[in-house]
Symmetry: C2
DNA sequence: CTTCTCTTCGTAATCGATTTCAAATCATCG
DNA sequence: CGATGATTTGAAATCGATTACGAAGAGAAG
């Protein structure tokens, strides 16, 4: 832990620290022989550069932050892998921040990252935008992933939530003849939530079905929300025949509630949702889902971010929208093996 | 991105930067009134401290690194949550490094973290110890989690793999009468692997069964290893009646192979494994597992690490061993709801 | 040989905060 | 009132690397 510095190397060889810095940082004008000797002693003394000092001077930390709302959700895990893989391929580190869908935590992390001098952030925000204000003020490079934040204009990489929701809903109506479809959505402050409801609505309209607001509940993207609301509407008199869960976790809650009511899925309640449950689906292909390309989303977002960080002057804000893959399985009422609907 | 510094605040108030630093960094001797004025202007100028400069001087970055081998595995995800939660509770950030079970990647990350001046690391190593050598040389604080590395002595927090494997194997023998139990283990270089085989062996010996090495295969902790080997032994003449998969991913591979062979689990092949599949089990409680307290492991490891970083002089190396919870479900052949075996 | 250019290298400033040491201020008291 | 000790504050060094600027040396051209 003592720490060999460029001064030690310089003293050892009788040259100046400046020369050592130049030699080690690559291709400045340094005589070949000097460079060789410096590289040699650096290795011999077991020198490791101090990135803090380097970053302080260069005003670049080669570190980005990723703010996501739930590490236990495979969707975000895959986003994270995409971000991390891409970042490290370009020599960047990633600091992970897990907000648990709590805007307060998000705010704290944002401030912290500002102090830590990260070079940029990939953010899937659970707030309404206010939490990200400091980033805007400081002019910090940011790319939004999965969730847009209306207030600000930043690059973003998102899934086509409206389209996915439309296709799923349409499937329930067209193929299975359902007319009363409950929706358990995430918070209305989050873009994916609003868009999924919009997609649902478009499908209803297209098939001449009424939009009944009592069937639509906005809450949060967690299992217990799905459980709570499903418990509720499943015990009612005229329960809906189908349910569109806002994401995979909500869907799990719905399943649990149905089990407790002794209801079978899909016989008593058809169910479709967003985002696949990777491992679970490998073993028990059950949920009919709109599966988003999570890894790609993370990877693309990082690429956009690194372009900005790299100093490329990009005026306009870029918006990448990726189509989800619709995977028809059993929970909607289809037989396994049934033909996959084209997106 | 301009950056307000303590010099700006100092100039504004006609005091010295030193005083500003003292005032902002808490409770050094600064007159109350001065402190108030400084805090005020700091807020007014929207000052954010530069942690890089701070870390450079204090030789502490308030950042730790977590090296894990597979972020898609819920076990490690939970370890990660435990680490991150605990670290951030004490004001530390966590840099996540995902090695994909590749020792080369691990080596690269280790070097990088050394340069980044992290204050310490929580490591679940996929190597044989050589990759961690630089950490030892530099005297970097390290706590091993999940996997011990024989070569070095560091604090560690691990699960009782031997005991868990023993109990699972014993269950297969005692309750279900299996005599030929295949084992698909991870790499022998990884401690959990060797220990799980040892536990398996102890159970065999206790029940007077022969240890047949052709039933035991060591490979790696991934799905495709389970799939490949299971495909192999399931097509043989006298296939084993039961299988102990080294971890959850291997187990998934075994299931997939069994499905392709038209074999049913547990009727045609009983299966037990280590580490639960959180979400999958919520929906489809299927695997009989030794479930390790992953979150706790991460949290404890971080606590031990922070103690070291905090400068507490602890001579001896601490070893925390946590017992897994044995959850009996269907894959071993038990009926659901059957009584839980005591560890 | 002088002058000029080009390469190579050293001096010193710099990034922003912390900290040591000493100076300045203030209060207290004989 | 001056001495003594406690509080506050400032000047300057420091962490380790980068870099602007200029000097020294080598080689080329006249």
């Amino acid at each position: 832990m003592k720490g060999v510095t460029i001064y030690d190397i310089a003293k050892e060889l009788g040259v100046s620290p400046a020369t050592v810095s130049r030699a080690l940082s690559g291709s400045d004008k340094v005589k070949e022989e000097t460079r060789r000797k410096i590289a040699e002693t650096a290795k011999r003394l077991n020198y490791t550069p101090n990135y803090l000092a380097r970053s302080l001077k260069k005003k670049q930390s080669y570190t980005i932050a990723l703010i996501i709302s739930d590490v236990t959700n495979p969707f975000f895990t895959n986003v994270a892998r995409g971000v991390e893989d891409t970042a490290s391929r370009f020599g960047f580190n990633t600091i992970f921040c897990n907000t648990d869908e709590d805007p307060d935590k998000e705010r704290v992390y944002v401030d912290l990252m500002l102090k830590k001098m990260v070079d940029g952030l990939v953010v899937s925000s659970c707030g309404d935008g206010r939490t990200l204000l400091p980033l805007k003020e400081k002019g910090m490079p940011v790319v939004l992933v999965d969730r847009k934040v209306g207030k600000f204009h930043w690059d973003c990489v998102v899934g086509d939530s409206e389209g996915g929701a439309y296709t799923l809903t349409r499937h329930l109506i067209e193929v299975h003849g359902h007319k009363e479809i409950a929706v358990l959505a995430g918070p209305l402050t989050i873009s994916t939530s609003a868009e999924r409801i919009a997609g649902y609505k478009r499908a209803l309209i297209e098939f001449g079905l009424p939009f009944r607001s009592e069937l639509v509940t906005a809450g949060y993207y967690k299992e217990d929300f799905g459980y709570r609301i499903a418990k509720d509407f499943l015990s009612g008199e005229k329960r809906p025949q189908a349910c569109f869960a806002g994401n995979n976790f909500i869907a799990i809650g719905v399943v649990r509630a149905a089990q407790e009511h002794g209801l079978r899925i899909p016989e008593d309640l058809a169910l479709v949702t967003f985002d696949d449950l990777e491992l679970a689906s490998l073993l028990f292909p059950f949920f009919t889902v709109a599966k988003q390309p999570a890894y790609t989303m993370g990877s693309l977002a990082t690429q956009l971010l690194l372009e900005r960080i790299g100093g490329e002057k990009i005026k306009e804000n870029r918006e990448v929208v990726l189509k989800p893959e619709i995977i028809i399985r059993r929970s909607c009422g289809c037989e396994p093996g049934k033909q996959v609907l084209s997106g």
